[in-house]
Symmetry: C2
Subunit: 192 residues, 2 copies
DNA sequence: GTCTATAGACCGATAGAC
DNA sequence: GTCTATCGGTCTATAGAC
């Protein structure tokens, strides 16, 4: 990787984190430049506008998500176990979610209010999870409405993330994850 | 109501709507003043700072919520029917939620990222629903963990609102509301 | 004449953009 | 490093109701 690409990657990583922690609009150029440790002037060598950075951040998140889903698919033996991996995100990233919510959910919600042109790209990250989950449910039961089940799981984890952020109640998160797990079990049993 | 209070109320109503549609930070003084039809200068006669407006908006939302919950409690005969009223919000306000998400959820999420001092007050609106729902579940079954059940319903509707906003899929909303209704039925049946 | 409500000029700071 | 627009925030003059 040449120096240009390396700096670009550092900018994207810093912006990603700041957009998550502070929101897209609230994060200024200056804040990103400071986090990376470069001057604002240097900045424009890599990105012309703030929207360009946002696009790069969303692209990076999408790539990261694809890699993660592929890894889960490779590691976990059964569809049920794979779906369980997804459900576990809200526990594994519990601390971040409690403080800043779900990165996918909060970004799409913000971009919706801003009527931002990149909003569909942010939604596409949601869609990655949606179709991946749908695939697992189809494997579990080819006759099921896999997309509906996928959205149910997605909605469940979004609700948990939202209230975790609002109330900071870890017991609630564990309880609701267990509930989702149990629901998943019941789906598998029903298919036997 | 004197003229001062009337103008103040109009400002709060306009700010409420704009904060909902565009987010708190994105909404400028100029935008609110334009929406109300007054000059920016006049503004400071009624509110000194933007945070003061936010505080007034949150207070208004809390009062509105309390009134709504009281009305539901008065109108609906059974606890189950009352809880059902709550679940129906995502359908009744389906259009707004699809475009701007849940007003309570999106505001608390934004204020969390901004580390805004009024965030606890925004969360308190969530708590109004939480305790009201808990009360209904206690009436349904005094031995149940009413708060856990309340949070489950709250999380369910938050998840629906989030994905409704992301995907704009009305069939999904109806499906998930039906699912929550069925779950509620099962809770009632289990108690018999 | 006094008070209430209003308008609009104006401030420093900071935003994104170049 | 500079430029311009706009941000939240402040001050003062004044029009009209009483």
């Amino acid at each position: 990787m040449d120096k240009r690409a390396a700096t670009r990657a550092r900018i994207v990583a810093a912006a990603d984190r700041l957009f998550y922690e502070q929101g897209f609009e609230h994060t200024s150029f200056t804040a990103i430049a400071e986090a990376v440790g470069i001057s604002r002037g240097n900045f424009y060598y890599h990105f012309r506008t703030k929207d360009d950075i946002l696009a790069a951040v969303i692209e990076a998140r999408a790539a990261e998500t694809r890699a993660m889903l592929e890894q889960w698919a490779a590691e976990a033996p059964s569809p049920q176990e794979r779906i369980r991996r997804f459900v576990r995100i809200v526990v594994a990233n519990g601390d971040d979610i409690q403080r800043f919510g779900c990165p996918v959910g909060t970004l799409t919600a913000e971009l919706a209010k801003l009527r931002h042109p990149s909003r569909p790209d942010a939604v596409a990250v949601f869609t990655l999870f949606r179709t991946w989950l749908g695939k697992q449910f189809t494997e579990l039961d080819p006759t099921a409405d896999a997309d509906a089940l996928a959205l149910h799981v997605l909605a469940g984890s979004q609700g948990i993330a939202m209230l975790s952020n609002a109330f900071g109640d870890e017991a609630f998160v564990r309880r609701e994850v267990a509930r989702l797990d149990a629901w998943l079990d019941s789906q598998v049993t029903a298919n036997r």
